[in-house]
């Protein structure tokens, strides 16, 4: 299973094995990682699963779609170059080793 590492706002790291096809958000929430709120459960409707993708993986993961881009503009933490909503990143073998930093403020 591909691994994904979450860097929490307090600097601690947590590495999880993801089920292929689950999103980066779902993988975090199912394991009880705090900081990713995901109010809407992955419908790209709430912008409470905001992460900064590690620059080494940014090209591989790609940028946001149009709706997601608008959601990120209104997210509670200011967006950065590699901001994504983690509900929109589906884990696959190609993303093994992915690192994401959880945005400090989600709501």
């Amino acid at each position: 299973m591909p691994q994904v590492t979450y860097i929490l706002p307090d600097g601690t790291e947590s590495t999880l094995e993801a089920r292929e096809g689950d999103s980066v958000m779902e993988t975090a929430v199912k394991n009880g990682i705090r900081g990713i709120v995901a109010e809407c459960g992955g419908a790209c409707s709430c912008a409470t699963c905001h992460v900064f993708v590690d620059e080494a993986y940014a090209d591989l993961v790609g940028g946001p779609g149009d709706l997601e881009d608008d959601m990120l503009d209104g997210a509670a933490s200011d967006r950065r170059e590699t901001s994504r909503l983690s509900c929109q990143i589906k884990m696959s073998a190609a993303f093994d080793g992915l690192r994401v930093e959880i945005a400090p403020k989600q709501v």
Binding site: R19, N31, E39, A43, D73, G74, A75
Partner: protein, 412 residues
């Protein structure tokens, strides 16, 4: 150790109460009872992603097994509380299978059940509802072979299923009893838009529909008959005409009800001091601070009110204040609503409904109270932030669609 906290109901609100108890440092026992066989899961995708095949049952689950074990949350699934007694300091619940569950405090998060349409033929196979995974399985197992789908009720659920059915190329008719769609949730501008939008996507919409009975052959539904004699062929009938609060356990406890829902105060406290309640099944003081009681059938309310209930259970009472928000994804149409529009006296339209991108802002006495957005995420995010902070957007300025809404937020 004593009995701990018993949570009756294993949906969005029950799950959140359990999670929030641990997050806030509660060390005692937590037991959650649910009458479905599978661990707590997300319901919203059942009428969208699950039907499309984008989400499976495992992906819908809120947490994995390790989470429940690590957090010592005991799940009692496929069982229901059939008796409960309380004393001044605790109580005991008995389940249908005979389990005795003792508790110090009790949280009710029973949710709701679909309102049933009781007309001749309503017991025919293929007359379906949408609430649980069992409902969704029943729909999905008949989905591929169905050519014609009749949706009864032009609300969120019905229109979501109608949209998926049209995308799959099925013949779709939506029967709505009122004179416009989603009448409880949105204003006439938005209702009219959704009627047109679904018609443009190939659905037939009949307003003011009066349904007489279902027709069938070999025990299976085959048509819906209207009182005016019209007959509409149907391989599947999806009934989405609202939900009823589940109050079985509240009744066993003799809790005070209002309009068929469990009455709570702003701390999620019921009329029994040992019992809190949260989610779809409760009637609560308007969390925006406006007067009156409301019932909110939404993920946001289930989650936020559950957090209030958890705090109350831990003796850290904080009044429930939140901005209600809702969403409904209907194929390529993303409807997002923030605030409660009840009592509005003015609307402002931004964007262009003909281009499937617009917002309707609702005002009362010159103050923004709510917004409907269709594929207009930037307006939604701006208005949500504005409303949550108690700020305002001048209605005259808002009418200029060329100006970004987030630049118009003022503190008075």
């Amino acid at each position: 150790m004593s009995g701990g906290i018993l949570i009756i109901g294993a949906g969005q609100a029950g799950m959140q109460i359990a999670d929030s108890l641990r997050e806030n440092g509660y060390e005692g026992g937590i037991t959650m009872v649910g009458d479905e066989q599978i661990p707590p899961y997300q319901r919203p995708p059942l009428s969208k992603g699950y039907l499309y095949g984008e989400a499976d049952e495992e992906s819908l689950q809120f947490r994995n097994e390790k989470f429940y074990a690590d957090n010592r949350i005991e799940l009692v699934l496929g069982d229901a509380v059939v008796d409960v007694t309380t004393t001044v300091s605790g109580g005991v619940a008995t389940t249908a299978s005979g389990r005795k569950l003792t508790f110090d405090k009790l949280a009710l998060a029973p949710g709701s059940v679909p309102r049933k349409l009781e007309i001749p033929g309503s017991d025919l196979d293929g007359v379906l509802y949408m609430r649980s995974i069992a409902d969704a399985r029943a729909l999905k197992s008949r989905w591929d072979s169905a050519n014609s789908v009749v949706v009864i009720g032009g609300g969120f659920i019905g229109l979501e299923v109608a949209a998926v059915a049209r995308k799959a190329g099925k013949s779709v008719t939506v029967l709505e009893g009122a004179d416009r769609m989603m009448a409880r949730a949105v204003c006439p501008i938005t209702s009219e838009y959704f009627k047109d939008a679904h018609e443009r996507r190939g659905a037939e919409i009949i307003l003011n529909a009066r349904i007489d009975h279902f027709e069938g052959a070999d025990g299976k539904v085959s048509a819906v008959a209207l009182q005016d004699g019209t007959k509409i062929a149907a391989d599947i009938v999806m009934v989405g005409i609202g939900v009823l609060a589940r109050t079985e356990v509240a009744n066993l406890l003799g809790l005070e009800l209002t309009n068929g829902a469990i009455l709570v105060n702003e701390f999620a406290e019921t009329s029994n001091p040992l019992v809190v309640a949260a989610g779809d099944a409760v009637m609560l003081p308007n969390p925006t601070g406006a007067e009156g009681l409301v019932r909110l059938e939404s993920v946001q309310n289930a989650v936020d009110q559950a957090k209030t209930a958890a705090k109350t259970l831990l003796g850290e009472r904080e009044p429930y204040r939140a901005l209600p928000w809702f969403w409904s994804d209907q194929a390529d149409l993303k409807l997002q609503i923030a605030g409660l529009s009840t009592g509005y006296d003015q609307t402002v339209l931004r964007g262009n409904p003909d281009e499937d991108t617009f917002s309707v802002l609702y005002y009362k006495n010159g103050r923004l109270i709510a917004i409907d957005c269709v594929n207009h995420v930037s307006d939604f995010m701006a208005a949500r932030r504005c409303l949550a902070a108690g700020n305002n957007i001048d209605p005259t300025a808002a009418a200029d669609s060329a100006v970004a809404l987030k630049t118009l937020i003022s503190e008075s």
